[in-house]
Symmetry: C2
Subunit: 209 residues, 2 copies
């Protein structure tokens, strides 16, 4: 049983020394052609600066934070551009990795490979995010501070139970998520988890745009 | 800005006194007929013992833990029984509620309304779960202990980055999740979050059953 959530966290020797980030996510196109549609869209993203593994439930990408956000946003946008109603479910994580998979990618530079390709594509998204700063009794303050940051971005929609709503153009929403995730790492917690659920091209979005 | 993740957690006066549980979830049928399919399936579940609210991204149910698990499992099963490839994304939470929405449902008894209807439906599911015991520096031990519990249930598939895989019949997997979530509340953390991603009727599941 290598490599579970537990054993990953418990390899404490390397805790806090590696800044490898990761995201476990899945994209769900509500469409009969979901297999070909997903395959086509995900192949359009340049993943050469990140480690990547897909199983029957989700895809995991690991590497530098900047490239994790770059790749996930690109995959979402390429899928959205098929016109299908698509949902993203993602868990971003940074902190105790407990293993070395993907470590080779930590040497990559700061140039986002996908941003030039997707930056001019606009796409309304509605989403909900939650921050989980682990191991810190003051985690509530970290969360409150970052919800305030989202409000400053103009993307905060409203609070809901267990999450905060973010909506707007996908680039603004991802910029908010990326800043919130980076800021939370300045707290006392060395292990930050952020979940994101995003709904795109929903039949119920007409009134919100 | 009432009712965000932050303000919910920060209404500390009531922290730990209420044992209201909740789940924010969405079901994604990868099918052109997702709207009618979801509506039909979700209406089949008896929700009279829980509070419920749906927005453009997800559905939130609140009430006693036992009825939260009963309702979510029933909704997943009714959707799965349409034959569509369906994904569940769910965040279960118990701890500081910070507000009173749904509190009226805390007086309900221990009789599960949906279990008699769904208990004889079998359904293979593959899933990944992660536990987030908040505010506790020893959270890693809580997680490790509960992964061991999943292993005892015979549902543990394998560990992956940021989560643990669970698979098998949906009733065994939900029994594991419910026990793990209950056990984690016996730790030092008073606020337990558990995320679950489940894939059902996937074209890639043939080899795993
Ligand atoms: Ca169809």
């Amino acid at each position: 049983m290598t490599n579970t959530q537990s054993t990953s966290f418990s390899a404490g020797a390397s805790c806090g020394t590696s800044q490898i980030a990761g995201c476990r996510f899945s994209l769900h196109p509500m469409d009969d052609q979901f297999v070909s549609l997903l395959k086509g869209a995900m192949e359009k993203a340049d993943t050469s600066k990140i480690w990547r593994s897909t199983d029957d439930v989700s895809t995991c990408v690991r590497g530098r934070e900047i490239h994790i956000f770059d790749v996930v946003k690109a995959m979402v946008l390429h899928t959205a551009k098929t016109g299908a109603h698509v949902a993203l479910n993602a868990t971003f994580s940074i902190g105790c990795p407990g293993d070395t998979e993907g470590d080779a990618y930590m040497a990559e530079d700061d140039i986002r490979l996908n941003e030039p390709v997707v930056k001019d594509l606009s796409q309304y998204v509605s989403s909900q995010f939650a921050l989980y700063p682990m191991g810190d009794p003051d985690y509530m303050k970290t969360i409150m501070d970052q919800v305030a940051v989202a409000e400053k971005h103009g993307t905060l929609k409203k609070g809901v139970h267990y999450a905060s709503g973010l909506h707007g153009d996908i680039h603004d929403v991802f910029a908010t998520l990326e800043e919130v995730f980076a800021n939370a790492q300045q707290s006392k917690s060395s292990h930050i988890v952020m979940t994101v659920n995003m709904s795109i091209n929903s039949p119920s979005h007409q009134e919100d745009k």
